[in-house]
């Protein structure tokens, strides 16, 4: 049991537990907190693979900004406990065995027939300078396009979330 495997299993357990908890909880705030735990554990997994810049950006952007947005909206809209819906019998009858068989099949195929080489700890060090070289030379066009996308998203969010009377007054 190498140290790498122990760390991988520890972070992996938090990921798996958080994902299952997200499905199991009925109040959205608990699901949001489990998702934050999943993202933090994923940042740990990225560090194990050597992607230090990606891990830091994951914590800053995903866990520290996007999830704050989610928590805000849950607080603002006062989202309560999810209502019980009557489940579908057919879905339960075919769904659960279907998911179980397909997942067992996929796990068996991946473990047996895919790559079994080791990924060493810190396999591909992603220094910020190397990533910046790629980002601003080879991937400059996608970078600029995504910045335009963010600009459009900002404008769209401001317009969509503003109060209806304000927009009516501006138009009329």
């Amino acid at each position: 049991m190498s140290f790498h495997l122990i760390l991988f299993l520890a972070f992996g357990a938090v990921c798996v537990g958080g994902a299952v908890n997200l499905l199991a909880q009925r109040h959205p705030i608990n699901s949001a907190l489990s998702l934050i735990a999943v993202m933090a554990a994923l940042a740990g997994e990225y560090l194990l693979l050597g992607a230090e810049f990606v891990a830091a950006v994951q914590v800053i952007v995903y866990a520290g900004a996007i999830m704050v947005l989610f928590v805000f909206v849950i607080m603002l809209l006062n989202a309560g406990v999810e209502e019980e819906t009557k489940g579908s019998r057919i879905a339960l009858l075919f769904g659960v065995p279907g998911v179980l068989t397909s997942s067992v099949l996929m796990v068996w195929v991946v473990l047996r027939h895919s790559v079994t080489e080791a990924v060493p700890i810190g396999a591909l060090p992603g220094h910020p300078t190397d990533i910046a070289q790629l980002l601003f030379h080879d991937f400059l066009l996608p970078f600029e396009v995504t910045s335009v996308l963010i600009l459009i998203a900002i404008m769209g969010a401001v317009v969509l979330a503003s109060k209806p009377e304000a927009t009516a007054r501006k138009v009329g």
Binding site: A56, I60, F72, M75
Partner: protein
């Protein structure tokens, strides 16, 4: 540098890291307690009164008395709160406030028993990003405390505080990018090392004199807003929102919010010292033994100046209204930070 330093084996490294962590944590918690004392004294003198004087000489034992008071107070958990988050929020606030001290370097390496031990718990390549990340996570303590209290004043205070912290995080990050462009690395030790030496013979090469003057003021204002201090402390002002997000908290949990706020102040002061004021660089005078320890003294002196500035501003300025606060952050500070970044990039690329 006398003998060759021995390389640290794994066991020695772990032992040294544990000792460093315990020492730094102890010093940080004492510093938090005495920052409270300093604030009460300084604000008191600014308001023409004495501040604490009764407990110990100059009121120096006042933090100990406050700590005992918090321990003995009744820890009330109101029946209408959402218990799991109510208990977890102050713990989250304190954990994230204390984590960022682990990448802050206090001085150069000290040779002990033949090993060269750097005065930093860990020097990661992305030290500055780690501090930014932990600051972003600190919003959760405030937001969840406000929400779990099930109380309209707490909810409003929590929402306002977290919206304010998220807005000023952007200006904070952008003001630091100017320093990063000039230093070329995220590692805090490398940034400080790039500020050694002098130019024109007597002006030290600190980043504030070397082009980041506006960047420093943007950082200062954004940091005051991040730590919810006057003039940006509307979310926790007594006259506005009862006590904002920590209305329903008492005893140790309230003390934890208090500790988290002052620990954040100390972290901000340390980062400002490292990034803009040359960290531990200062005149090295005296015998070699003193010279090994003098950098730490310079670092602490600069951090103390920042804490005094924080307290001075608190005693002097009135607080912003919430809409003034938000428009200041988005419409003034953010464009100014971007302009600073563009100007620095052009100057470096020239």
């Amino acid at each position: 540098m006398g003998e060759e330093a021995k390389a640290l084996s794994v066991g020695v490294f772990i032992l040294v890291s544990v000792i460093k962590s315990v020492l730094v944590l102890f010093v940080l918690l004492t510093a938090v307690a005495y920052t409270v004392w300093l604030e009460r004294k300084v604000v008191g003198h600014m308001q023409n009164r004495w501040g604490p004087t009764r407990v110990g000489p100059f009121g120096l034992l006042q933090p100990a008395a406050d700590g005992l008071k918090f321990l003995f107070k009744e820890d009330l958990t109101p029946p209408h709160v959402y218990k799991p988050l109510f208990l977890a929020a102050p713990m989250m606030a304190v954990i994230f406030a204390l984590t960022s001290i682990s990448v802050i370097p206090f001085g150069n390496s000290i040779p002990i028993f033949g090993y060269n031990i750097p005065l930093q718990i860990t020097d990661v390549n992305i030290g500055l990003l780690l501090i930014l990340g932990v600051t972003s996570m600190g919003v959760y303590g405030v937001a969840l405390a406000g929400w779990s209290s099930n109380n309209k004043y707490s909810l409003l205070g929590g929402l306002r505080a977290s919206a304010q912290m998220v807005s000023y995080e952007i200006a904070l990050g952008l003001s630091l990018v100017g320093v990063l462009i000039q230093s070329g690395s995220f590692s805090l030790r490398t940034i400080v090392d790039a500020q050694g030496g002098r130019f024109l013979g007597f002006i030290p090469r600190w980043n504030i004199f070397h082009g980041q003057f506006i960047g420093f003021f943007i950082y200062l204002m954004a940091a005051y807003a991040e730590t919810n201090r006057i003039p940006f402390d509307l979310p926790e002002a007594e006259t506005e929102l009862v006590a904002g997000y920590h209305t329903e908290y008492s005893s140790m949990k309230f003390a934890m919010f208090f500790m988290a706020e002052y620990a954040n102040m100390i972290t901000v002061a340390c980062v400002a010292t490292l990034l803009f004021f040359g960290g531990w660089h200062g005149p090295l005078i005296g015998p070699p033994l003193v010279q090994a320890v003098l950098p730490v003294f310079w670092f602490l002196a600069k951090v103390f100046c920042f804490l005094f500035l924080y307290i001075w501003v608190r005693g002097t300025l009135p607080r912003f209204r919430y809409d003034q606060l938000m428009s200041f952050g988005w419409k003034f500070l953010l464009p100014l930070a971007i302009a600073n970044l563009v100007a620095t990039a052009i100057a470096v690329a020239w």
